[in-house]
Amino acid sequence: MPQKKLIFNKAQMDEAIDRIADEIIAEFKVTSTNSNPIALLGIQRQGVPFAQRLSAAIKRKTGSSPLEGILDISMYRDDFGLRKTLPVIYETIIPFDVDDCNVIIADDVLASGRTIRAALDALTDYGRPRIIRLATLLDRVCNEYPIRADYAGLHYKAAHNRKIVVEFEESNGTDGIFEKHWDKGGDYKE
């Protein structure tokens, strides 16, 4: 049987998202009449519900709605052709002008930093943001690339042969963060 261990529950996720929202509000001085807006850019796929949760939390606390976008990084990966399965390209929607914007990239898990490296390349092809920050719900503290999260909700060190899976009610039916094993073929066990 596949092994799937719950490492953080819904309450811990909610608390972490709440805390990140507070940190963003403090840094960018977000108020209901803020004239210097921030944009939350969720990375496909699980960064998208994370960004939406963050956005909702910021709106609840300040009355101000951040701009929202979705970024897919498949065209910018550095392991094209090296993976066993081909990356499927998901939708990118950036309905705001990136130039001079304060963009917060949101992804569910920060591991090696390779996804974020690709996201920075992709984002700068859309324009020239004023500030780019990185928010992650869970930081695996891998430190492989010189990329660190500006806002990290949770920290969890896991061995390389483990996968951390974040599930959101919106996309998976329930909230929770799980640790899973790789099988010998290199594919994830569900």
């Binding site: 065209m75 910018y76 094209f80 499927v88 092809d125």
Partner: protein, 308 residues
Amino acid sequence: MNITWTRKDLLEIYDLTAAEIELILDTAEEFKKVCQRNVKKVPALRGKTVVNFFVEPSTRTRISFELAEQRLSADIINMAGSSSSLTKGETLLDTIKNIEALQADIIVMRHSAPGAHEFIARHTKCGVVNAGDGAHGHPTQGLLDIFTIREKFGSLKGLNVSIIGDILHSRVARSNMWGLLKLGANVTFAGPATLCPREFEEVGVRVCHNLREALVGADVVNLLRIQHERQHCGFFPSTTEYNQFFGLNNDSLKWLKPHALVMHPGPINRDVELSSDIADGERSVILEQVSNGMAVRMAVLFLTAGVL
């Protein structure tokens, strides 16, 4: 999307499942957005080499492929049949083996012999993309036509698509036919009896030899050029007569539904199969087809390169 692409080659739409066709179209939608950005380039195929080998001449398809490859950051070599060693007696297979020995990753080929691509795909590790083989297939043209229709109508299911003209010599008609049928559209072929054989009825195409019959009830009309270069005997008396019987003009346009699209794979022979004002009119999506072609070719190259 729960489908994974596993093909190193794109030989004909006939080989693809409906889900694979939809995957190409969905992928192309994202590449179309890339083409509309300020920075129209992504690094997806960085380090890959694509050889465009056009044994049969082409301008629009070659340029479209070339630009698609550049926008994917691939390295490109262009070879024409007339300037290759084929003219010195080298076999096609030897030429391909030489290209492979140069560590090329993908060969985009146009060839006059039907099935040439299937043959070389069996003998090379390179990905092979069919850019037209005789009157047999032109899958990226079929896919871009279907992409354009899907973009306008949302789905192909139940749509009536009429393809009119020189069906006999048309690889575009054949590639369209396979894709349209797989996605649930109703296909009609129309043209002079000499250029529109009844054999297509066997795979579920409606064949007629009357323009009005083809236009009434059609959601899409795709007009084809008379391929004089492939005709070695008189299939009809004159282009003037062809125009009178099968040309789309303002009179015959009235038979179409008000929302119907007018398509043409190009090059157009104005006022033969299509009158100028309709070609340039509001129902025409001919230039959108050209733009979409690049997005579809980027998608095909991206997917096939990912398997290599």
